[in-house]
Amino acid sequence: MSEHELLPLAVLATSLLPGLVIFFLPEGAVRVRSVLNLAGATVKLVLVAVMLWGVSRGENYAVSYPLLPGLTFSLRADSLALLFVTLSAQLWFLTTIYAIGYLESSPNRARFFGFFSLCVTATVGVAMAGNLITFLLFYELLTLSTYPLVVHRETAAARAAGNRYLAYTIGGGAALLLGTAWLYAETGTLTFTPRGFVDGSGASSPVLAAIFFLLVAGVGVKAALVPLHGWLPRAMVAPAPVSALLHAVAVVKAGAFGIIRIVYDVFGVEYAAELGVTDALAAVAAVTIIYGSLRALAQDDLKRRLAFSTVSQVSYIALGVAIVGPLASIGGIVHLVHQGLMKITLFFCAGNYAETLGLHKVSELDGVGRRMPLTTAAFTVAALGMIGLPPMAGFISKWYLGLGAIEAGATWAVFVLAGSSALNAAYFLPILHRAWFRAPTAAWAPVPAGVRAETALALLLPPVITALLVLLAGVLASVQYSPQEWATLVVRREFYAP
């Protein structure tokens, strides 16, 4: 087995093996567990860096294994896969640190970290899936491995949220399975191919359109497209690291990534546009963007507000995908990374408020900037990025989406973006105002003497780092290996005929 076959497997193994080992470690083995987790995460980062370097030089990393006649388990690290793998590897590393700090001395941590690692394994698998069946495999694994995380607290509310989560995602999985099986019956292949494999397969257009909708509905559940979004705001009863993972790295992103794969590598965006299905997708995405923002406005619970914000923001990706043209594609794909960075920062910060000061509601945040300046600064950067203010990362995505919309003649999409930015401002700016400029209403526990940081370092560093990344991804968007540059590479190499 050559290094080119081994690397994708090794990237999976760096989270799978620690996860499995952790299940069998005793609850008290905190140090071994942490070392295992962090070592896995570090090795994964290194391996991903090697693959990034290789792929940018045109190397191919792929491995496959036959499951059934005509059906293979196939991993392939193409440039699009690596975009997502890199995001999840980085954020997994940070989230692990955060989770170690956040869950300090809470029960059932072995279980938590075990499933946490499985969840990342599934995400990486989703990213590197070389065909639709492998994608489906990891997509379902993701459903299963996040369920224990959602119900981690084991309260009635957590279990209800878990049920809701399953009801949606398993239904989505069924739609995806049906679409996949039907597609296979029609075309006889499922391998992701640049610019799609459906065109010229001889299947009739209505059938293909139906398959498209089945597949997109299947992944749309996780991407929280309206009206399939109902699970997401409820799932935020989970601990903060889980929400961070759910919203930024794993679940929602897997759905959005699925949309990207289906449109570009199964149908090919130009053929999909010929079928007329991209218009429907764009419409759904637009509705989701506006609806999510409107609902976010009315939430007082901070995490709930962030959850509805995710509903809205993730559909930027779907919108970028649905508009035909390289610029919109770049915007959609780069937002996969940018939204991840921004949203994970926001959830880390929300977790810090909750864990350090017990603040859960927007209305309780008055003056929190004085007590926790770094956390609040990180929150501010990410929130401004969400609004799309230059020079944050969110602006870059919005810029490309806007350019793409104009290029494709979809001027309405520009107004959707503008409306969403305005709404984002409407629900983020009041939070910033409260946090920085209002006088505190409650007396908080002061920073303990002898401690310099505003909260535990493991809780503070991750959001600060991700906030810096948000800033850098925007300011230095054209440096080599920046998300924007990589997204451009992906789009040039794989999505459109040169």
Partner: protein, 472 residues
């Protein structure tokens, strides 16, 4: 040892072990383990022999048909013998921890008889021997079911006994009709003749109805849930995983070989029955408030899938045949693992009510994982044997244009997800019960191994299909 002499050995070895187990005053545990492991070795040897030859046959005592008894094994027999052989040592391991004394002795004896009958059924080459092994299988299964001892278990096994005898009689009647018409019972000689024989249709209807009753296929499943739910865990596992598969296997042989897959409407009828079973029994499983009943209803629902796959074989060929086999194999593993795991939960909690499990996920993490893994296969999620089977079944249904079946398969999968997660959700709740006794670890490991192999068999789809060969 030649390949063909493996066949009688596969029957005699466990039967002898079973008789010995009933007779010996002690040492039942090691005997059970040893004999079932030996049986597994024989099964592996058979698979190995078949991999080269494709078919193995043996005439007992050197007498050829129609006088003698013919034993034959093809790909399907080998797969089934292998999976039964693989499950048996794990059930034995579990039982050696769960039982003691007389109970263990009875279990060892009866289970090994059961295993011998099962092996015999899978390699029997004529209809009468199939009847004999089927009857032996049914009786040993009933005796196993009664082993639980309680009033409910006795009542349930009495029901089981009546049902299985009725089924056998109907089958025997059909066999008699065939014999009168042809003068032979050998499957090879009868091959393809069934439909044209005088009284062939009547014989067919009787045999199929009898087998469906014995297989507890909806709507004739009434005896199964109470019998399986009131038995003790290894017995439930053996019954649910293995016992009900035998009549379906027989139905496949009979219909596809003797009757050559005749009469399209029969296929439609079987498919309809299977589909109704999938939907109705999955729904019933969802509604159950007792864990073991839930799992038992899940068995009936999964039997519906098998019947669906069977019904599609004449039209869809290899895909449906593969679906039948893979679904069967994965269900054997998953259901055995699930019953053992649920048995562990119930043993710790002292009952099997869903709403009262005591934080099992903390105290019995391995059993909880076993439930989840077995659930993955039962729901048909990838990667698992269940998924492979479901995928082939979907392909078969799409290929024949039976879109309503596609819908049934998917809805059945969703309902399975509901009842599996109902089970899993309850493992997360409840309050601590510090006084509960710990379980022997091997009881947990046996369950986990079975459930994990139901998932792992998802990666063995190709080799299994290669061993299975084409539609006979």
């Amino acid at each position: 040892m030649s390949a063909s002499s493996l066949l009688p050995l596969l029957v005699l070895w466990p039967l002898a072990g079973g008789l010995l187990g009933l007779l010996l005053p002690r040492g039942a545990g090691p005997l059970l383990l040893g004999v079932s492991t030996g049986n597994l070795a024989l099964a592996v040897a058979l698979v190995d022999a078949l991999a080269g030859a494709g078919k193995v046959a043996h005439s007992v005592g050197g007498w050829s048909t129609p006088l003698g008894i013919a034993l034959r094994a093809d790909g399907l027999s080998a797969v089934l013998i292998l999976v039964a052989g693989a499950v048996a040592p794990l059930l034995a391991l579990y039982a050696s921890a769960a039982y003691a004394g007389r109970e263990l002795r009875y279990f060892a004896g009866l289970f090994l008889l059961f295993l011998g009958a099962l092996n015999g059924l899978f390699i029997a080459g004529d209809l009468f021997n199939l009847y004999v092994t089927l009857e032996l299988l049914g009786l040993s299964a009933v005796a196993l079911a009664a082993l639980g001892g309680g009033a409910a278990a006795l009542a349930a096994s009495l029901r089981y006994l009546l049902a299985t005898i009725t089924g056998s009689l109907a089958y025997l009647l059909g066999v008699a009709l065939l014999y009168r018409a042809t003068g032979t019972l050998d499957l090879l000689q009868l091959s393809g003749q069934g439909p044209a024989l005088p009284g062939g249709a009547v014989a067919f209807a009787l045999m199929v109805a009898g087998l469906l009753l014995k297989a507890a296929v909806f709507p004739l499943h009434f005896w199964l849930p109470p019998a399986h739910a009131n038995a003790s865990p290894p017995v439930s596992a053996a019954l649910s995983a293995l016992a009900v598969k035998a009549p379906l296997y027989l139905l496949l042989r009979l219909w596809l070989s003797t009757y050559d897959g005749a009469w399209p409407l029969v296929a439609e009828l079987l498919a309809a029955i299977g589909a109704a079973g999938v939907l109705w029994c999955s729904l019933q499983a969802v509604l159950q408030r007792r864990a073991k009943l839930l799992v038992a209803y899940s068995t009936v629902a999964q039997l519906g899938y098998l019947l669906l796959a069977l019904a599609l074989v004449p039209a869809a060929g290899a895909a449906a045949y593969g679906a039948f086999t893979l679904l069967l194999v994965s269900h054997v593993l998953a259901k055995a693992g699930l019953f053992l795991a649920v048995g562990n939960l119930a043993r710790r909690a002292g009952h099997d009510r869903l709403d009262g499990f005591e934080r099992v996920v903390q105290h019995l993490p391995l059993s909880a994982s076993a439930i989840a893994l077995a659930g993955v296969s039962l729901m048909g999620m990838p990667p698992s044997g269940g998924f492979n089977g479901k995928w082939l079944l979907l392909q078969a249904a799409i290929a024949t244009g039976d879109w309503w079946l596609v819908a049934v398969i998917l809805v059945g999968g969703l309902l399975a997800a509901v009842y599996i997660f109902k089970l899993i959700e309850h493992t997360f709740g409840g309050s601590d019960r510090p006084d509960a006794t710990a379980l022997p670890r091997r009881m947990e490991w046996a369950a986990l191994t079975l459930a994990a192999s139901a998932v792992g068999v998802g990666f063995l789809g190709q080799p299994l299909l290669r061993l299975l060969g084409g539609v006979p």
